[in-house]
Amino acid sequence: MNGKQLIARRVAREIQPGSLVNLGIGLPTMVAQYVPEEDNVFFQSENGIIGSGGLPDGMENTSLSDAGGGMIGALPGAAAFDSAFSFGLIRGGHLDMTVLGGLQVDSQGRLANWIIPGERVPGMGGAMDLVTSARKVIVAMIHTAKGTAKIVEKLNLPMTSDRRVDLIITELAVIRPSEQGLILEEVAPGVNAAQVQDQTEAKLIVSDSVTTMELKPT
């Protein structure tokens, strides 16, 4: 199990049966494979569908893709709609959860993930709407970038939203941003709090009840 799989399996535990969830492109997309079918979780793809399924496995249709442009399937009971409606679901607070990747999160729990000025300007796509308005926002990311801390005291990249995200899940820890700061709630198996702090620029508040991450079975 690599770091990304560990993250995906931990994120999967946050997903409630019957809920409506948007998974960002990349690592977050891996989460779906750890959510059991009987949970009836509805996955939204912001380009216009609820009920998107995994790879269609030989049943591709060029009019059915995910938000990254990759071909997907649709589950029974899926619903398709236009972009205005799709973002109405998001902005209107009808989305129970979104899981996104991140470039940085700061001590106030604010996310940066859409631009590196002067270097890379991909654009925000749906991220600003998702982070501002989903009921629960989880940042799922590798803890550091080539040795550089991504969980920082203060963002030096432009933020995606002034809304505080609800949870940061990395291959080392589960961290809950709060009014008081970043609370370390869980550590990965074989990792201790000091090691997490070591990889983190922002000061972590170590919860009295730090536990070891539990993961969804594969």
Binding site: N47, N61, S63, G125, D129
Partner: protein
């Protein structure tokens, strides 16, 4: 009956430097025949409003490859390195807008509304220099309506009145764009007789469509 036209004639009606809305999300739901003909006729200096610029060689990416675009308003260009290259080289300008805001701006243009009031982007770089309204104690960013000279849209089915039905995620920005442009060209997978799309299945009424583009048929 609604005017049908060839791809060639349709694109001939579009001047250089036109402002154009183009449907699609990463190329899905983009009218490829119209795009190809825009490239063939070398319609340049375009202002494009679209969700993204797809990838090199795909959808709107073909217009970028051919250097026909002067300005793009989009939510995302990260999948097209050529768009980014031209932007950095100052060969084109890019305005990035959150996707949910972009689609509402286009909707406002088509629905006769004065602008969209959204909580998205408040406090961020994307709100700089823009008007913020406080409404019942909460801050909202005012973004203005978007309109265009032309919309190039893609549908699954089209009848000879121009009634349109889209397919799955190929719908995306197409229906709002059909409302927001002065002249609307539609390219459909299938043209059907009037009456063959049931009233409840029509996503865009034909009165909004100016020209039905016949693909693969000589003019």
């Amino acid at each position: 009956m609604k005017k049908t036209t060839s791809v060639t004639h349709a694109v001939e009606a579009i001047p250089q430097e036109a402002s154009i809305m183009i449907g699609g999300f990463m190329g899905v739901g983009t009218p490829e025949h119209l795009i190809d003909e825009m490239v063939r006729q070398h319609k340049g200096g375009l202002t494009v409003i679209a969700n993204d610029t797809a990838r090199p060689g795909v959808g709107i990416g073909k217009l970028i490859d051919a250097r026909l675009v002067k300005h793009v308003t989009a939510s995302h260009i990260g999948t097209n390195p050529e768009t980014q290259r031209q932007m950095i080289a100052e060969e084109l300008t890019v305005e990035l807008v959150p996707q949910g805001t972009l689609v509402e701006q286009i909707r406002c243009g088509g629905f006769g509304l004065g602008g969209v009031l959204t909580p998205t982007a408040v406090g961020t770089l994307a709100a700089e220099g823009k008007r913020i309204l406080e409404i019942e104690g909460k801050q909202f960013l005012l973004e203005l309506p978007l309109k265009a000279d032309f919309a190039l849209i893609k549908a699954q089915q089209c009848d000879y009145f121009g009634n349109l039905q889209y397919r799955l995620t190929a719908q995306n920005f197409n229906p709002v764009m059909a409302m927001a442009a002065a002249t609307v060209f539609v390219e459909a997978v299938e043209l059907v007789p009037v009456g063959c799309i049931a009233p409840d299945d029509v996503h865009t009424p034909g009165t909004l469509v100016d020209y039905i583009v016949k693909t693969g048929v000589a003019a």
